[in-house]
Amino acid sequence: MSPSVAVLDYGSGNLHSAQRALERAGAVVTVTADRDTVLAADGLVVPGVGAFAAVMDGLRAVKGGELIGRRLAGGRPVLGICVGMQVMFDHGVEHDVDTEGLAQWPGVVDQLHADVLPHMGWNTVDVPADSRLFSGIADQRFYFVHSYAARSWTLHTDGRTAEPLVTWSEHGERFVAAVENGPLTATQFHPEKSGDAGIALLENWLRTL
């Protein structure tokens, strides 16, 4: 049976491209902020474009942080995309504005040091060996549009739970391109705009639901 996916509707701009790509990948998709639907879906996708602070405001208005936290506490899969990934960290700093994130992961999202920003276009990724998300597509390029990123990763488990799988990319410097951490998965790039490779990645994620 096709997995059901809720795309969290909190006023972010690119909800429908995420919806269309997930449908192409085989999901039955609802764009919604309805609590019961969000909690009941096999998977929840948290898209996000624009400013970190604006995304947090939008999430707060629909109690998005609480819904994401409830799902994760129950081991229910969540996929954050672009700023939807960035808000999973402790905080984000944009133009000297420091905004609290959802704090699922320790660390900060701040500006990349690169000659040309935004980092806009198709880039390669450095994928860890055990990745399921990038199974069969680790050699592909994915579409990025962002100026801010997690430039370090500090969460390590002590062996009681699986170590998070961190995929890196580089634009001026190294940054986190994707994370697979139990039920919480996230990509800095836009799988919904990454052509066939992006659809394949979404199919990989749907297979984990």
Binding site: N14, R20, V116, P118, M120, W122, V145, E192, K193
Partner: protein
């Protein structure tokens, strides 16, 4: 590991049809933008640009429909420009399925529009399109280039370089730099213009105007372009996207 040079086909759309010639073999309807977009996507286009040249505002809904139908089928970034005058226009295009919106003339008369769009939707949606040419008799600017309107027919006296810098400060995420001197010549991109803007702004630059042969693309990248736009040479089937990418690779550029 580095970001690839993007090769971007540009389609001029008038009341729902692609205008300027299009010459793909075995294409059922050469004038259908959705079909063409899918075709370019399968050939390896990294993004697509639709330039809406519809004269009548009453036909705008046709454009929105095309954007929607394209975005349903083609999962690469889609920029739509032409006649964008307000935040509401941007909102309507994004809701239709555009990922980025190109703004040109309206921002010249109202630069605050750039701030308003970037503040509302983020810099990543905002492509500032500049039609630049060398100053002609009677006009001087510091950089020697001025901004034009009406397809290059009217000068504004505004310094094209200063405008690029100002637009980046106001929140443009990218500049589509169209040389009206090179446009239509097929004699190559306007390298001095690209070099000048590259030296002064740090947002991505899409080079536009002048592409005529495979050897034209790599020099634009060497001059500082992050992406190369092409229209007629692609539509008439003179050059293919794969050929362009091969020529870029041979010249040492990174492509997808």
């Amino acid at each position: 590991m580095s970001v690839a040079v993007r090769v971007i086909p540009c389609l001029d759309v008038d009341a729902g049809r692609v205008v300027k010639g299009v010459n793909f073999k075995d294409l059922r309807d050469a004038g259908d933008p959705v079909e063409l977009a899918a075709r370019y996507n399968s050939e390896g286009a990294d993004e697509l640009v639709f330039l809406d040249i519809t004269a009548s505002s009453g036909d705008r809904s046709t454009t929105y429909d095309i954007v929607t139908r394209t975005a349903e089928q083609v999962f690469i970034p889609l920029t739509v420009g032409g006649g964008v005058r307000s935040v509401a226009d941007v909102d309507a295009l994004l809701r239709s399925g555009a990922d980025k919106v190109g703004v040109n003339t309206a921002a010249i008369s109202d630069p605050e529009l750039l701030n308003a769009i970037a503040d509302r939707f983020g810099v990543q949606v905002l492509v500032l399109s500049i039609d630049a040419r060398r100053c002609q008799e009677g006009t001087t600017t510091e950089s020697g280039f001025e901004v034009t309107t009406h397809g290059g027919r009217r000068g504004t006296g505004i310094d094209a370089l200063q405008w690029a810098v100002e637009a980046a400060d106001r929140g443009a995420g990218e500049i589509l730099l169209n040389s009206m001197d090179a446009d239509g010549t097929k004699a190559g991109y306007d390298l001095p213009l690209i070099e000048l803007v590259r030296a002064n702004v740090s947002i991505p630059i899409i080079a536009s105007g002048g592409a005529g042969k495979l050897a034209d693309f790599a020099p634009a990248v060497e001059a500082g372009a992050d992406a190369v736009l092409a229209a007629s040479v692609l539509h008439f089937g003179e050059l293919g996207i794969a050929d362009i990418k091969r020529s870029l690779t041979d010249a040492g550029c990174v492509v997808r």
